[in-house]
Subunit: 103 residues, 2 copies
């Protein structure tokens, strides 16, 4: 039987907003999603297949976060409060990419 | 039994790159993903839970595309070659959002 190789997962996509509350209101009123976390510096919204992070520009750039089985190969991992750890890199076009260690 | 309300889906995330081939090589060498489409103006990569579009900046801005059951409420839908149709809007922070009609 042919078994397709497992594909990597996009854990979340992060966009910038100066007013986190205003952005959370817009996304939750526009789409069926749920608030997983919210404070004044960032929020995390759950969608059916991935998550949307809304981040104050002083915190992180807009980025896409991928789960990778060997994240440590991309640099020194920074641990986060939720138990995950990750490293930021740039793709050849300069887009910010977060590589999250698979847990 | 509690049934969680179905959440909306992020169909794809689109980032900009001037050299589509170079970006496709980097993403396919860095992650387990598959090339769904590629020409000189854009490419579409399949991941385990969503898709990554790599688009020449002359075509579209970086954006996130959500599937919505009433996409036409957001404006006049533009049909695409693959049979889908969508409209672009901006969130309150100015981030580009594509709203795709559910098919």
């Amino acid at each position: 039987m042919f078994t397709e190789e497992r594909l990597d997962i996009i854990d979340h996509v992060a966009i910038s907003a100066r007013d986190i509350g205003e952005a959370v209101r817009w996304y939750t009123q526009t789409f069926r999603c749920k608030i997983l976390y919210q404070d004044e510096t960032w929020a995390l919204l759950g969608f059916g297949n991935t998550k949307l992070a809304i981040v104050h520009p002083s915190q992180h750039p807009s980025h896409i976060a991928f789960v990778h089985s060997e994240a440590e190969k991309f640099g020194s991992l920074t641990p986060h409060r939720d138990g995950t750890s990750s490293v930021y890199v740039a793709d050849p076009a300069g887009n910010a990419v977060e590589i999250l260690k698979q847990t």
